[in-house]
C-alpha cells in the first residue's frame, strides 16, 4: 500500500513540477505547483509527519498559492515570451543542473544505512504520544524562543508587504510626483 501510494503521488509530484516548467502561462504554473504541494502533503503523511502534512495543505497550498494566483490575476500576467536570454539559460543551465542532479543522486544511492519507511512509522518513540504531541512538546519547551521570534518575523513581513505594495511604495519618483 505504501509503495503504491508513494509511486502514485511521487508521479503526481514530478508531473506537476515538469508541467510548471512547460506551461507558458503563469496561472497554469501556479495550479501545477498546487498539485506538487498537495502530493507532497500525502508523502509527508506516509513519512509519519501528520502535522506537517496538514500545515503543508493549509499554509502552502492554501495561503501561499492563493497569494500567488491573486497576484497573477491582479497584474494580469500574460504569456511569457521566449528571448535570447532564455535560450542561453536553457542551453547552459540545463546540462549544469543535470550534472548536479547526477552528483546528488550518486551520493544518495551510495549512502549507507538508509532505512525504509513503512506506514504507521512516525516519530512515536514513546508509546501513545501522537506526532503533534511530540512536536509541540519540543516546540513549546526547548525551542520557545525561536518560535516567538518567528511571530516577530511575520509581523515585520506584514509591515514590509504593506509598505511595498501600497501606491508609490518602493518607487521614489512616483511618491514625489516625478512620474
Amino acid at each position: 500500500m505504501h509503495l503504491i501510494l508513494f509511486i502514485v503521488f511521487a508521479g503526481f509530484c514530478l508531473a506537476g513540477a515538469i508541467n510548471l516548467l512547460v506551461q507558458s502561462h503563469p496561472i497554469s504554473s501556479a495550479l501545477s505547483l498546487i498539485v506538487v504541494m498537495t502530493s507532497l502533503a500525502v508523502l509527508y503523511l506516509l513519512l509519519g509527519a501528520e502535522f506537517l502534512a496538514a500545515a503543508q495543505v493549509i499554509v502552502y497550498a492554501g495561503a501561499i498559492m492563493v497569494l500567488f494566483t491573486f497576484v497573477v490575476m491582479l497584474l494580469n500576467a500574460g504569456r511569457e515570451e521566449r528571448t535570447l536570454g532564455s535560450r542561453a539559460a536553457l542551453r547552459l543551465g540545463f546540462p549544469a543542473v543535470v550534472i548536479i542532479l547526477a552528483v546528488i543522486a550518486t551520493v544518495i544511492l551510495h549512502a549507507q544505512g538508509l532505512g525504509t519507511a513503512k506506514l504507521s512509522d512516525g516519530l512515536t518513540a514513546t508509546k501513545g504520544a501522537t506526532n503533534i504531541e511530540v512536536l509541540s512538546t519540543v516546540l513549546f519547551t526547548k525551542l520557545l524562543l525561536p518560535f516567538e521570534v518567528t511571530s516577530v518575523l511575520i509581523l515585520i513581513a506584514i509591515l514590509g508587504a504593506v509598505a511595498l505594495a501600497r501606491p508609490g511604495g518602493g518607487n521614489e519618483a512616483e511618491r514625489t510626483g516625478g512620474k
Binding site: L3, A30, L47, Y60, L75, T116, A157
Partner: protein
Amino acid sequence: MNSLFSQEVPLSWYLLLSAALFSLGVVGFLIKRNLITVFMSIELMLNGVNLSFVTFACQWHAVKGQIFVFFVMVVAAAEAAVGLAIIIAVFRARATLAVDRIDLMKL
C-alpha cells in the same frame, strides 16, 4: 499482490524525489522569463528541501527535522508576502513582468 501491499519504500527514493524536485526548481529558476514563475520555482526548491528534511526525520526518528520544516514554512510564508509585494512594486514601476526587461536597479 499481498507483497505489493505490504512493501516498504526505501528512504533513498524519497531523497531522490526531493533532489529531482530541487533540480526542477533550479531549471525553472533559470529558464522561466516571468518574474512570478521564477518566484514559484524558488518555492518548488524550498519544497524539495523540506521533503528531504522530513525523510531524515523519519530515518533518525528525530523531531528536530520536522520542526525545521515548520520554521521553513513560516519563513516561506513571510518571504512570499514580501516577494509578491516587491513584484507588485516592480510591475507598477516598469509595467512588465519579463525579467529580461527588468535589468536595472534604478527605477
